[in-house]
Amino acid sequence: MKFRNKALAIVALAALSTSLLSACSRNGNENTGEASESKTPATASASPSSTNEASGQPQASSLASADPVTLNFFYHDTKFDITGDSPILKKAAEATNVTLNNVAPAGGETAQAWNLMLASGEIADILAYSTAELNAIASQGALTPLDDLIDQYAPNIKQFLTDHPDIRKSITAADGKIYVIPFVSDGKAQEGWFIRKDWLDKLNLPVPTTVDEYYTTLKAFKEQDPNGNGKADEIPFFARNNVTGPYMLLPLWDAFRGANGVDFRIKDGKVSFGPAEEAYKTAMTAIASWYKEGLIDMEIFTRGNKARDELFANNTGGSLHDWFASTSNFNTTAADWVAGFDLQPIAPPASVSGQAIETTARSPLTTGRGWSISAKTKDPVVAMKYFDYWWTEEGRRLLNFGIEGETYTMVDGKPQFTETVLKEPAVVDYLIAQTGAQIYIGGWQDYAYEQQWTNKIALAGAKLYTDNNYIAADMLLPAISFTAEEENRLKEIKPAIDTYVTETSQKWYMGGADPASGFDAYLAQLKSLGIEEVTAIYQAAYDRYLQL
């Protein structure tokens, strides 16, 4: 009942204020956009609390539509069920009058859900997906170009893009237009190396700083029974991600594979295919012998997401390369399982050529996600205004911290997570499941959200990596976009190459074939599968990016 009264009041207020607004602007329709544009950032920064819904005074400027509208929305999450009823979307609906209705199925594979939606012909009004895929369908005319809409109706987004020209470049499609409002991450370091400090101490070993020392350390873990149960059941190196995790060792031999299925990097100013470099041969040869010696988890390709929980709980896991925040948390959780458990981040061991580099980085567009407006949607202006809401201070706080009074409270003008949230072992999962905060829609992450629950060990680790410039950001390929033609060629050639590379690499890894002797044949095969053309396409797209 209470809710209904409130809703009524909001609708009434909204109707009133919009009629006022439209009365003001009747003499010049073109002015509306500019007026609200100059207004919103000012109010947002001057008095953030006045836009707060809690005060019961929704501002007319945050309304995307005078009448309540419902837009279809595609957002797929393999783990969580995000619906229009997710608290943050509901809150946003109260502020903007735009309710989202998620059309994606719950569970299953994301790519499949996405392609099924496309194939059904019923394209949702708002599409949240990977920027690359969105730009790909944009080249087929499926999305509304956003440049003009941003200029006119999205003052906050416009401001952000003006302040961050690199991001503007990265989200610009091959035809020079913008179709996607990205999810922009905050913070720099993402993943790093971790090692069991208590094991090192027990075996009187120093912290490994080079690949050779790292080898000696893993060997000692394997042979000298640091967990003291009399069995050689230690698993010196393991990984949680069973697709990219096993290859996190590659930089130790200056080799490279990408974290998201794109194995290209920048080398001497040119695009280079990591798995075809000479270093890859050296690296795979070394890794295969590590695997054979039992220094790498035998089940590294099948263990999966629960690897850390399993191997720390039974006190067998020794070292890994994983996300700072969640991995550091095991110092708290695993302390109950294993006495003296101490897992510390370490600097990347220097490679064979002496470089200590980290090839994962939290670039602003690291998630590669964002959202777009379908070309078929009835009112793109409403959708654009709605997008902009998430970039206001209020919207950004909603996306980062969830619901005021439930997941956070304001302390000295800054959002502070509640005790309940901070006590959760997996804060992000909790936030997504409970409120929908931190889902990958077009918005701007605020590192402050992470700092609050990231434990000191992880913060120190992230600091270690950023202060020493370990993160080789200049080596990583920025987000680039392809023309429709290039996209088609890639779809035709690249899958076979990916299949061949993953299959052969895994065979080498597990000792099914010898990389040293097979490498030339492997290169020849890559060539016949068309790796040169794929590289040329990536190079062309990268050149375009540089010219923007």
Binding site: A119, G141, A142, M298, T302, K491, P495, M510
Partner: protein, 298 residues
């Protein structure tokens, strides 16, 4: 004709929903088959996408992996025919001979239960069962003094694992068909055989098996019609890049390269290719079956 229609109209009425189902879900989608010959774009729609001739067929048949996935598909199907197909028949015969009704019912129920477990769960069970460090299969091997084997990462074990899993999952359920056929055998035949002094074994060979032979032949023909259709669900749940050599079949290949990449035209072309080959196989085997056993689908 007309009078028959009028006379038996309730029966024809019963047939109507099925015909409607066929029209809607089998014949109408055939219209979409044309995208196998087009450069299909979901935004242009089926009609407006440009024609591409046989290029998708050429791309698939000329693909690097065509021979491998064809071979894997055929081998899995043929091994299934040899090792998996007879299991439900044997199970049905054994159950038929069991005297204790309670025992028979119990075994039958337990045997067909796995059919109702989701394939995802079954594959999860198999993966855990065969895990190299703590899987029960490897713990047993270790107790027996043998080395541990990483079954799911060894291409040589894949077919065995896959076919055994399917047999375990489906044998009980498929046996129902044969059990039903067995109850349809005239008891007088058995009585006559007993009077003639036929042993139990003789009765099975000369009465029971000929009695269910038509059913067996029809099931066999249907299986042959699905020779190229090894479902991808269980495959993608069990395979690893390292086992592609034996595990990658046509459907999983299409799933990876067609569906996940949004190449519906190519996926449709492969589907059409499969159907044509299967139709040919079915016609040929049906003719052979008619010639030698007098049983056939039509």
């Amino acid at each position: 004709m007309k009078s028959r229609l009028r006379q038996h109209y309730p029966l024809y009425l019963l047939l109507a929903p099925l015909l409607a189902w066929y029209a809607l879900f089998v014949f109408k989608p055939m219209y979409g088959l044309q995208i196998a010959f087009k450069d299909y774009s979901v935004f242009l729609g089926i009609e407006n996408s440009p024609w591409a001739g046989l290029s998708h067929f050429r791309a698939f048949l000329g693909s690097e992996y065509f021979l491998r996935v064809l071979k894997n598909t055929l081998l899995i199907s043929i091994y299934s025919l040899i090792f998996s197909f007879p299991v439900p028949i044997v199970l049905a015969l054994l159950l038929h001979e069991a005297k204790n009704v309670v025992f028979r019912r119990a075994v039958q129920t337990i045997a067909y239960l796995p059919h109702f477990i989701s394939i995802v769960v079954v594959c999860g069970i198999v993966t855990n069962f065969l895990a190299p460090t703590n899987g029960i299969a490897n713990l047993l091997l270790e107790k027996l003094g043998m080395g541990k084997i990483y079954f799911l990462a060894d291409a040589d074990y894949f077919r065995t694992i896959f076919i055994s899993m399917n047999t375990w999952k489906e044998a009980g359920f498929l046996a129902i068909v044969y059990i039903a056929a067995l109850t349809g055998i005239n008891p007088e035949l058995y009585e006559a055989a007993v009077i003639d002094g036929a042993s139990k074994w003789k009765r099975v060979v000369h009465v029971t098996i000929p009695g269910i032979l038509p059913t067996i032949m029809i099931m066999l023909l249907l299986k042959i019609g699905e020779l190229l259709e090894v479902g991808y669900e269980a495959i993608i749940l069990l395979y690893q890049p390292v086992t592609y050599r034996t595990a990658d079949v046509i459907s999983s290949y299409v799933y990876r390269e067609g569906i996940l990449n949004g190449r519906y035209d190519m996926a449709t072309a492969v589907g059409l290719f499969n159907s044509i080959v299967c139709l040919l196989l079915l016609v040929v085997s049906n003719r052979l079956s008619k010639k030698y056993t007098d049983n056939g689908l039509w």
